[in-house]
């Protein structure tokens, strides 16, 4: 068995009503009836009889502010030059966990501290809310009825449904890493509600909870996404979970618009060329010639 580990990061929410039939949904239908291309959504929405205002266009490539790919922000990074301790919680704030979820967090923290690390990850997708602090570029694809949010790291994609649908029955549908997201425009703010998230995802951390006690099945994340001055995108998250949180947890994340011409790049975790130790034998299995057949240091 070969394990690979990655750096980790962390994330937050708020409450919204279930989306019914909205102006946007009606506008979208009108758009399609007119045979307009989705890329003209903004203009068509404005023309549609039931639409009052055009929604902002948030499509394009965005980079987390301060990340190694934040060229707009003037970051010059080798991708391997960070300090081991990091500069604080990935989301800038931490939730107040309780009960068995707090115990699970403390157990993870202790184990990681015991081996001198702050995180443990694998090629498993980050899931919600962790994907929101994924380290690389984010590509947003926007249509009147759906917005996709793709993080370059692990090519993980969230889908926000804006067509007025409800969340599917969580009894019938298994939870997923990204959960199920519905959204609607409130003026110039995109409000996204996400539920039915697998319990391996954690709150405020970078990695997973192997004991599936990262949060309860009640987890509900509401994000308010809007453009801010300086050609930036801000995500205000509110996380609610009556079983795992003492009180709702809030976080704010910011993204810079990537320079013109910058494209989404492929980042393949499975195509691993990093140093790799077989956990069953302790033997190094690596493609790096200089590092083959060297006994790993004793812990």
């Amino acid at each position: 068995m070969t394990w690979t580990a990655h750096g980790l990061e962390e994330l937050h929410f708020e409450k919204v009503k279930q989306m019914k039939s909205t102006h946007i949904a009606r506008a979208a239908i009108a758009t399609f009836l007119l045979g307009a291309a989705p890329c003209l959504a903004k203009a068509e929405t404005a023309k549609a009889p039931t639409a009052k205002v055009a929604v902002p266009d948030i499509s394009g490539l965005w980079t987390p502010v301060g990340s190694s790919v934040d060229i707009t922000g003037g970051i010059n990074s080798t991708g391997a030059d960070a300090t081991p301790s990091g500069i604080g919680p990935p989301f800038g704030s931490m939730p107040t966990l309780k009960g068995k979820y707090l115990e699970s967090f403390q157990k993870r923290k202790k184990m990681l501290e015991g081996v001198g690390s702050e995180f443990k990850t694998s090629c498993k997708v980050l899931g919600m809310p962790t994907v929101m602090v994924g380290p690389y570029a984010v590509e947003v694809m926007q249509t009147p009825t759906q917005i996709n949010w793709a993080q370059e790291y692990l090519r993980e994609t969230r889908r926000f449904y804006l067509d007025g649908r409800s969340h599917p029955d969580s009894e019938e549908n298994p939870p997923t890493f990204e959960g199920h997201s519905t959204g609607r425009w409130e003026g110039d703010t995109l409000v996204v509600e996400t539920v039915n998230i697998r319990q391996e995802t954690t709150l405020g951390e970078s990695g997973h909870a192997d004991d599936a006690l990262g949060h309860s099945p009640k987890l509900r994340i509401v994000e308010r996404i809007h453009l801010i001055p300086g050609d930036k995108l801000q995500v205000d998250g509110t996380v609610e979970d009556a079983d795992s949180l003492i009180k709702p947890w809030h976080y704010t994340l910011a993204f810079s618009r990537a320079p013109k011409g910058d494209e989404f790049m492929e980042y393949v975790c499975e195509d691993n060329n990093a140093e790799t130790i077989d956990p069953s034998t302790g033997a190094e299995i690596t493609t790096i010639p200089e590092r083959r057949n060297i006994t790993p240091p004793k812990p």
Binding site: W3, T4, A5, H6, G7, L8, E9, E10, P64, V65, G66, S67, S68, V69, I71, N76, S77, T78, G79, A80, D81, A82, T83, P84, G86, I87, G88, P89, P90, F91, G92, M111, G114, V115, G116, S117, K120, S122, V133, G134, P135, Y136, E152, S206, L253, M265, Y267, V268, C269, N273, A274, E275, I277, D278, P279, I288, E290, R291, P297, P299
Partner: protein, 126 residues
């Protein structure tokens, strides 16, 4: 397989990742130390998830030593101007690295790299 060995493997395998709040694990490297490497590129693995650069440094009166240097993936480096064809075997480079903790292996994580006739990737502060 003990829990400790599994965890150790994760730590040793930790891949850098920079987020809005950069969090990296470089448990295999001594991030408090810096070593300057002046040598000749012998091999480049410009690949996911990490780029590896091999630099040969002639040792005084002895055998040359090859340093294995780890950097971010092409998605980070290409945006900084280090493209797939920027470096080739035979190029002279100056690298600033954080060496392996164990002191056995010659290598490290890349803090900064002075590209021939081009910009410096990362922050050059020896």
């Amino acid at each position: 397989m003990t829990i400790k060995s599994v965890l150790l493997s994760f730590i040793l395998l930790a891949l850098p990742m920079a987020g809005a709040n950069a969090h990296h694990s470089y448990a295999a490297y001594d991030m408090s130390k810096k070593v300057m490497i002046n040598g000749t590129v012998s091999e480049i693995q410009y690949a996911n998830p990490h780029t590896w650069l091999f630099v040969v440094v002639p040792a005084e009166g002895g055998k040359a030593v090859t340093w294995a240097i780890e950097a971010g993936g092409p998605n980070i480096l290409s945006r900084q101007g280090w493209k797939a064809n920027t470096l080739k075997a035979g190029d002279k480079v100056n690298a600033l690295i954080h060496p392996f903790k164990d002191g056995i292996r010659k290598g490290g994580s890349l803090e900064a790299l002075q590209l021939p006739g081009a910009r410096t990737i990362g922050t050059w502060k020896p």
